[in-house]
Amino acid sequence: MTNVTSKELIQLLKDHPENLKLFRMKAPDEAVRSLVARELTDQKAASLARDVMQDPVIQLYVASDGSIDGRELMDYVRSSEVSTRSGGAGNPGVRSLLNGKLDIKTLLLIVALMKLFNGSNQQSTQGGNLISSLLGSALGASPAGNNGSLGLLGNLFAAGSQTPASTQSSLGLLGTLLSASQQASQPAQSVQQPAQPQSLLGALLSASQQAQPVQQPAAPSGILGQLLSASQQASQTQAQAQVQTQGQQVYTLDGPKPQQFSASQQAQLQSMLNGPDSVHSNGQINVGNLFAIANALMGK
């Protein structure tokens, strides 16, 4: 076992998530030793531990302070992959996301968008916490919600005619979320990034808020809270919200219709999502790239 690779170890953890808790209870290199072999060299243990702790799904688990069940999280990840394949949606972007090629903030963004989507269709049972019901459904608390989440996640970046009806407005949601900045006189891409992009969602919203000519009500504290606030503002204007998609279709949030993406558009989106520009060299998310993705989603 001493010659195990990082990839094998991460796979082992995903296959046997009951072992994940070791990474909460012990130092990562100690957890690696407990799992792999006591006689691992310091260097090897540290290297494996570093790689394991860079996996966004494992990071999310460890940092959730016990609030997420490892087995359910991994079941969800696996079922997302299977669902994506068997559903024919074919979404390497999603698999990349779940396989750890994307930054944790991107994962959180997706999580937030999923929650916003859920929240826009049903009342949260837990007092409106932004991602609580999302995680609840993501972790299998609600089979229906879970299916919806899978569909949403599976189709967020590759929506097509196979998109389940319940997931289509996610594109509209993202579109609406960002349409605020598009409605402004400045194009979204010209919005300057905040000097300190310490908060992806905050920065995203901040940018769109800066771009809006009308004054916004005071935003609630918290990055996700701001996103929710923007979504709520967006939902107030749902009746008017329309997004033009490259002349193919117009859809509204009130009556979601499939957003059609061509194969080349899908490839472009996935390339943008997974490309070197998606994350800065310091690990920070590239907000400009997200705007570009959003614009591409909206056919701009």
């Binding site: 808790k21 990474f23 909460r24 209870m25 012990k26 130092a27 990562p28 990071q59 999310l60 460890v62 940092a63 959730s64 302070d65 016990g66 609030s67 997420i68 069940d69 087995r71 359910e72 930054d103 944790i104 903030k105 959180l108 837990q126 007092g127 916490n129 932004l130 991602i131 609580s132 995680l135 972790l139 608390a141 300190q196 310490q198 908060s199 504290s221 918290g222 990055i223 996700l224 690990g283 920070q284």
Partner: protein, 233 residues
């Protein structure tokens, strides 16, 4: 019957054909709002107690009541909810996401739970009002542990469980963290359970449970707990 009630709890692991009794029929009980220290040498079973109490592990037999709920009978989903809503954890290692700021790390936990406290206010409480937007790598060990404590507190848990919370810290910083935990207990009525091998800090607790080889060897109430500032080791 107390707020926490362990009754004849055992935990048996199997390593090959060898049976390891990590907990060997332990019983204790304590009330809400106290500062409890569980101490003992390595392998005494104290972390096992904490992990079972925190819903991260299950016992082999016996009963465990927390606020009148039999958590030993919980299924996996109920245990997840229990951890999510009722328990705050602080470990020796901070478990922070390196590319989220202090504030975002706390937000991550609070967005999942039920009645969270205000994130900024909680960070202020732990003395990090000027470090909210710093990344973990820009914080000292003590500050990172404060973020971890803020993350646990912001969940507004019934019970704060700390496993060797000062194990990776120097003497002065460790003392500051214990001070913070003691203040949290005193000022907010939070039940705090600290597991440690450092016997010197026992005088700061309202209750001291000593363990050895999976058994409780003593269980003492301390009528006059000392301020951590007065304790030297």
């Amino acid at each position: 019957m107390g707020f926490i009630d362990f009754d004849n709890v055992t935990k048996v692991y199997h390593s090959g054909e060898v049976e390891i009794r990590a907990l060997d029929g332990i019983s204790f009980s304590f009330e809400k709002g106290g500062f409890v220290i569980i101490c003992g040498a390595s392998g005494a079973g104290k972390s096992t107690v904490l992990n079972i109490l925190g819903g991260m592990d299950t016992c082999t037999s016996g009963s465990i009541l927390v606020d009148n709920n039999r958590i030993d009978q919980y299924n996996r989903r109920q245990l997840t909810d229990y951890r999510r809503f009722d328990i705050g954890f602080v470990f020796q290692f901070y478990n922070l996401v390196q590319n989220l700021t202090a504030k975002e790390n706390v937000e991550l936990a609070t967005e999942i739970c039920r009645d969270p406290l205000d994130v900024e206010e909680t960070l202020k409480q732990v003395g990090l009002e000027h470090r909210m937007n710093n990344f973990p790598s820009q914080l000292s060990g003590g500050e990172q542990q404060r973020v971890a404590i803020a993350r646990a507190l912001a969940k507004n848990p019934k019970l704060l469980l700390c496993d060797e919370p000062t194990g990776a810290l120097d003497y002065v910083t460790g003392k500051q963290i214990l001070h913070l935990l003691q203040d949290t207990c005193r000022n907010h009525g939070m039940t705090v359970v600290v597991v440690t091998h450092n016997l010197a800090i026992c005088p700061m607790a309202d209750r001291v449970i000593r363990m050895k080889s999976g058994k409780v060897v003593s269980d003492e109430v301390n009528e006059n707990p000392e301020n951590i500032d007065k304790i030297e080791w």
